[in-house]
Symmetry: C2
Subunit: 153 residues, 2 copies
């Protein structure tokens, strides 16, 4: 017996996927590769990355979650994210029409519990000064969130 | 009428101070100076810093909390922390016998709600390679904690 695929449909609109669930699944995929991710990371340009992740050697990875074709088509600005990471992925569900997505980006297929990298991203290494400033921003953002969530016992 | 000072005595042993409370107070002091702190930060040498904080320009600060004179006297290894930060502070309560503490360290007097820096720390800048590796470790630790605490909605 084959288990049913896990539905990631949004509860409020089943025609699209649940973005939070996809984000959680994609974060787990990244974790399985040793990348520590934080959601909704504000970039110096003013945009927010759905997930920004930091690898053991300092590599920076951005993942944008798309809940459906309309969500992808409405976002003409995603190439701007290339300027803030070494690798860039879209994360979508199994039912997403993936032919829409550009070939020169990485691709994660996720559900609410995990997923897989089905296409690696090209690597475009950041300049050292930018890597340094983004890493510092990442560190301080993560620490502030951990402290706030923890509220220190 | 003058308010009573806030007691930070440990509930289980009122002769000493509550280390978690002091840690929380000290973390707030750091935050007021723009330093994002995470508790119980594991250093590459195997020791754990009570608080490791990261400033807006990448400065690294370690704070060790001492719950009483005995706690300080039992720890002969605190000078090792100098190798992992630019500035080093002890955080103690108002009643701690502060004459015990070495002059060449910073001093934070805290209670469970806040506190003040009563003596600045000398600055001993880290070498760039070490700063880079500690910042990366800090960032990944903080992100993992934020994600675990948050459990992504």
């Amino acid at each position: 017996m084959k288990p049913d695929p896990v539905s990631i449909a949004s509860l409020t609109n089943p025609a699209i996927d649940d973005a939070q669930g996809l984000m959680r699944g994609a974060a787990r995929v990244l974790a399985s590769f040793g990348l520590a991710a934080i959601p909704e990371f504000s970039l110096p340009c003013g945009r927010r990355a759905d997930l920004m992740a930091l690898g053991p050697k300092g590599e920076l990875v951005i993942v944008e979650v798309k809940s459906g074709a309309a969500d992808f088509r409405a976002d003409g600005k995603w190439p701007e994210y290339f300027d803030w990471c070494d690798r860039y992925f879209f994360a979508v569900s199994e039912r997403f029409p993936r032919a829409l997505l550009p070939e020169h980006t990485g691709l994660i297929i996720a559900d609410g519990f995990g997923g897989a990298i089905v296409r690696e991203s090209p690597v475009n290494p950041l300049a050292p000064a930018r890597r340094k400033s983004i890493t510092l921003r990442f560190a301080r953002t993560a620490a502030e969130r951990a402290l706030r969530l923890d509220r220190l016992p």
